[in-house]
């Protein structure tokens, strides 16, 4: 029951619009590229310095000079352009990317996001996540609703923040929440995954949220 990883990615793909420039994080967000509707033009940005990339290369055609931000070998397409990482983050920070889809450890009801460190554990670094959530026009988090029965949708993040008031939407295996990060209107449950119930969501969510009338 509830949504699988692929179904969460498929739901996230509904946020794509024709002509969008999109940055996808590692993990479930990467799967979103499998669900770009036919006929829709979406250019994927890779923050190391590439706009417009295609699927993984055929075996034997991997190019060490051609990788995405997850350090995976990818391919060039007709629309591809390359640029430096400074130019890439100018593009991100300057608000030129329409949509960022990424994972999270915690999201708070005001849009705060934590996804880069757990105090006391070895920290790998934030990579480009802080720049993406600060700069991209719309930020969608895709994550499991809870981790080891601990809620991840919180009143306040307990982990160090990746960004303060940055998340617009959270897609979990149980449903979809909208967050009015700018207006301060808080969090609203706007969709339920098939098989999930309002009670289940209520029980697994620490954050306060309204429920859309449609549900």
């Amino acid at each position: 029951m509830a949504w699988t990883r692929d179904q969460m990615a498929e739901r996230a793909a509904q946020e794509l619009r024709d002509g969008f420039y999109v940055n996808l994080g590692i993990g479930i967000p990467t799967l979103v590229s499998n669900y770009i509707p036919a006929g829709m033009s979406v250019q994927l940005q890779s923050e190391n310095g590439m706009l417009g990339f295609g699927p993984f290369p055929y075996e034997g055609e991997e190019d060490p000079d051609l990788i995405n931000a997850g350090k995976q070998t990818v391919t060039e397409i007709l629309t591809t352009s390359y640029f430096s990482s400074a130019d890439s983050f100018a593009m991100i920070r300057g608000g030129h990317i329409d949509l960022s889809i990424l994972g999270a450890m915690q999201v708070a009801e005001n849009g705060d996001l934590a996804n880069w460190m757990i105090p006391g554990k070895m920290v790998k670094g934030m990579g480009g996540a802080m720049d993406l959530v600060a700069g991209v026009k719309k930020v969608v988090v895709v994550m499991e609703h809870s981790a080891k029965n601990e809620p991840k949708l919180l009143k306040h993040c307990t982990l160090p923040l990746t960004g303060a008031g940055v998340v617009d939407m959270v897609i979990t295996d149980l449903g979809v929440f909208a967050i009015d990060k700018k207006g301060g209107g808080g969090m609203t449950l706007i969709e339920l995954a098939p098989g999930a119930t309002l009670d289940e969501v209520r029980n697994k969510t620490e954050a306060s949220y309204r429920t859309s009338n449609a549900l």
Partner: protein, 224 residues
């Protein structure tokens, strides 16, 4: 001594120049680089020899030696958001000592730094970075020092080339002035003090992801 080393992951890394630094035996290095190689490759080589005192990076997750030395207190790390790191280097090369960015505002990254409201948003002041030595990897260079990069191997190399008091470039293809179309030059020769020709550069792939010829999915989903 502060060294900037180009590359993202193992892509566009000045491997031969890292070897030269290893062989020089210089110690107590502060190294600015987005990552720190992997065990035994790239900057990982300078961890093995304990030449690095401190890293300034955005992500160092692929390196066990790194974790060991860090946990043993032998290695310092300063995390910078990747875009902030890129811009700090660009600023250093461009004579900009400080700039404001939204990245990291209201987070731990802003602690100890000036934060201010500008036009209704909260911004952090970040400082430009200049290196004693920058080492970069380029695809092609002429004897004037004009450089071009190939695909995503460009990454941090162009900014680092501008931000080194001395910049040394290793190049895969050495050509004569005039051989590169001047509209295509990414790093003008003024930034490059030394060139090393590395005609048979060994390149590493960190995450080899491919699709089979028989199945051709539309997206980038299938991992092998």
């Amino acid at each position: 001594m502060l060294i900037m080393a180009g590359g993202f992951g193992l892509c566009g890394v000045p491997e031969q120049l890292i070897l030269a630094i290893r062989d020089s035996g210089v110690k107590n290095l502060t190294v600015v680089s987005n990552n720190c190689g992997i065990d035994g490759v790239g900057l990982g080589l300078l961890l093995d020899t304990k030449q690095i005192k401190k890293m300034v990076s955005s992500y160092v997750g692929e390196n066990k030696t790194f974790a060991q030395q860090y946990l043993a207190g032998e290695l310092e790390i300063e995390f910078n958001p990747q875009g902030t790191l890129a811009e700090r280097i660009r600023a250093g090369g461009a004579g900009i000592p400080a700039f404001f960015t939204r990245t990291g505002a209201g987070t731990q990254i802003a602690e100890g730094k000036e934060q201010r409201q500008i036009d209704g948003g909260l911004y952090v002041m970040e400082r430009g970075l200049v290196a004693d030595l920058s080492i970069v990897h380029a695809w092609m260079g002429d004897t004037e020092g004009n450089l071009v990069y190939r695909k995503t191997a460009r990454n941090f190399n162009p900014m680092m080339a501008t931000a080194g008091k001395v910049t040394v470039a290793e190049i895969e293809h050495l050509v004569q002035p005039g051989d590169i179309n001047p509209d295509h030059i990414i790093t003008p020769g003024v930034y490059v003090k030394r060139l090393v020709h590395v005609p048979n550069a060994v390149k590493h792939i960190e995450q080899r992801t491919v699709r089979k010829r028989t199945a051709a999915p539309a997206g980038t989903g299938e991992e092998v």
